[in-house]
Symmetry: C2
Subunit: 430 residues, 2 copies
């Protein structure tokens, strides 16, 4: 394997340009580790004139990424364009179809078409790698697919969107409302002008779907992820959760319930002293629980040109070394189409109620919960003083199901002691 590995680089935005810069900056080191030279031979991007901080002179330039993927002198396509379909999908398919390897950062593409693309790669004897698609620079795809491959995974969890974690961290630390922190995050470049993809949970859910497939040998099932963003979270709940020793995180959780796959990407309470509870700012975290290894925690930068390039180049080096493994850890034909779990596994819940401040109100709540078998672990009237005859009551339940809880809260909401819609947020045991 002394021939250079020839790279076609599709997309020269933050990620693509980062890859070009890293391959140039650490060329000697990368060649030593890869066992051969890794050389970008051709690129594809919209704007040919733009300065990307890296010398692109002498490289072939293709207007069309599919043409790039089809070039006979490209051994490996780095797909750094993004998008769940369109040119990214077409170029990936074109490369795999002729047996060229593909390394991609494209979580949306894989979340929607992962199983089909993995099968296409296998048919052609090509590698399809996507370390950069999940948690940026954290080598968590490799950890699940290789480093912990001897384990039966009990649960995989992740804080996988830095924008959301940044917003939640600042809301709690500074007592700021969601909209104010979001505006600041946009100003600082931590959030997009249209933030819905991040704050709505879709981006993180894409990543969770990939982790779940790797962890459990299931077909990627993005539509099966129960997704809820952080945009509806109130500062009050963040503050009350903190009073009770918790933090609210947009937490992804995947586990098997028997044969059914449970995938959730929703705001959860986690103990403040847990690894997730201590995670601040734009940093990502992935936690894997395996039957042999116990709990492994990985933390690092989840986005940005450098971390993403680090992940892409690691995949490139693996392929240069001749590594050969299925995209999702097992051959595509063995990936199971698991049924979707109907709801999350039982858990404790945090409840916030606005109640009429009068005798018997708490008793009514306790009765409603008790009637469906939901037992109360803690109940406190919040430090917020009752105003206008209204009291804020916080409850931490013992383990129950969401269905039971919702039926009890419907009873409370319909009663005359309720002064506002009840809030219930799952407490994930971590």
């Amino acid at each position: 394997m002394t021939e250079p590995l020839r790279i076609g680089l599709a997309g020269l935005g933050t990620v693509g340009a980062g890859v070009a810069r890293l391959l140039a900056a650490n060329a000697d080191l990368i060649a030593a580790r890869a066992g051969r030279e890794v050389r970008v031979v051709a690129v594809s991007a919209r704007d040919r004139a733009k300065d990307r901080g890296v010398d692109l002179a002498g490289l072939a330039w293709e207007e069309d990424p599919v043409a790039l993927a089809g070039r006979a002198d490209v051994d490996l396509l780095v797909e750094a364009m993004g998008g769940e379909s369109g040119p990214a999908k077409a170029a990936t398919e074109a490369a795999l179809a002729r047996g060229a390897h593909v390394v991609t950062a494209n979580k949306a593409l894989l979340a929607h078409h992962g199983a089909a693309l993995a099968a296409a790669a296998e048919r052609a004897g090509a590698e399809l790698r996507f370390e950069a698609a999940v948690a940026g620079g954290i080598p968590c795809v490799k950890a699940l697919g290789e480093g912990l491959a001897g384990n039966r995974v009990a649960r995989v969890m992740g804080v996988l969107n830095g924008t959301c974690n940044y917003i939640l961290t600042r809301m709690e630390a500074e007592g700021l409302a969601y909209a104010d922190v979001l505006a600041d995050a946009q100003r600082l470049g931590y959030a997009e002008a249209d933030p819905s993809f991040d704050v709505g949970g879709t981006d993180a859910a894409h990543k969770l779907a990939l982790l779940a497939a790797l962890a459990f040998g299931t077909r990627v099932d993005f539509d099966g992820v129960m997704t809820e963003g952080i945009d509806k979270l109130s500062l009050a709940d963040i503050a009350h959760a903190a009073e009770l020793g918790f933090r609210i995180k947009l937490l992804g959780v995947a586990r098997m319930q028997g044969e059914a796959l449970e995938q959730r990407m929703r705001p959860c309470l986690v103990p403040a002293a847990s690894p997730f509870g201590k995670l601040e700012g734009v940093t990502n975290m992935v936690v894997v629980e395996g039957d042999a290894v116990g709990r492994i925690v990985m933390e690092g930068p989840g986005a940005g040109g450098g971390p993403t390039a680090s992940a892409i180049v690691a995949d490139v080096i693996d392929i240069a070394r001749g590594a050969h493994s299925p995209a999702f850890g097992v051959p595509a034909a063995l990936l199971r189409a698991a049924p979707r779990a109907e709801s999350g596994a039982p858990a404790a819940y945090y409840i916030r109620l606005a109640l009429a401040d009068r005798p018997g109100a708490l008793g009514r709540v306790a009765a409603a919960l008790g009637a469906v078998g939901v037992s109360i672990h803690r109940m406190v009237q919040s430090a917020d003083e009752a105003e206008g005859g209204e009291a804020t009551v916080l409850i931490v339940t013992h383990e129950t199901t969401r269905e039971r809880l919702d039926s009890a809260l419907a009873v409370v909401a319909a009663s005359d002691v309720s002064m506002g819609a009840p809030v219930a947020i799952r407490i994930e045991p971590v």
Copy 2:
């Protein structure tokens, strides 16, 4: 690659029996991920009759591990005996010599003979893998050698000995003396009857030497690790460090100083709020700082049958898949014999002084430090009240070298205001 991968298992203690159990318990899953059956065909251990919680019936039994390594029906030797020389070394060499792969948990063997064994593996076209030798179940060898391989590593750090971290955690949390916690740890099975290998820092230094070689492409140089254990640490310093917002950890640090390799495994102060500062109990942690990725933190169980077996089986699955990469990330011939850094890079230091409680004492200290250019960041008289005319003074310096600091402390110690030997501990910026 539909032929089974045939394993010879040398050693059936905690680690070896753990591997046998994991390969049996998760056989289907491992076969799916490996792309072929992984089958133990022969074993070697001292006591044939002992119950190890796994069915060994039908396996060939070799008295001599070297004979096991030489068996024609063994494709891969799992070396789980331990020891830096003797049978472990002989069996490893015997397997590699005939082109059989070796997966080992043996940090001592690799710390002393890593470069030679890596070269032997390459000559024979065999794989030599050792994920289990460093930080137990944390896939950190894979992270450094593969997942972060595109990075120039600035620094790699680790809390790599669970026994030491357990002892330090309890000393601080419960205010107990070293000897008392050690005795308790021995009773609970967290420390060996002869704990010197752990508490003296040797075990952790072995692991650091392996991480450094992977991170920097240098020849493993265990003798170049500046090693100091936790057995001389006083409870007073742990408590005073906490007052100042730090914790004391047995922290391994490796970095390049130009062409020279700095490797330290010594007690250090780290900020209490840093990842290392928050690490409690027997858990291990590895932190890698790369030029592209930034900082990656990995945390998990550093020892025990399950986590160690997880790491070994991951290596076995890689080899079953046909992965091929040099043991230390680059071909053995490219591993540089780096000169040893003469001392640690400049850092801030914690100083504890017992001074005569009289006017001018602090001034003498300040003058001695100032004379060699050591400037003071904080100086406090400890909460310990002066007794018998003696005061405890704590100093946090600005960045300086150990040599300057020692020359100043020698002046203080020789003066008539000093009532006891000064203590100085490095503060590692993490």
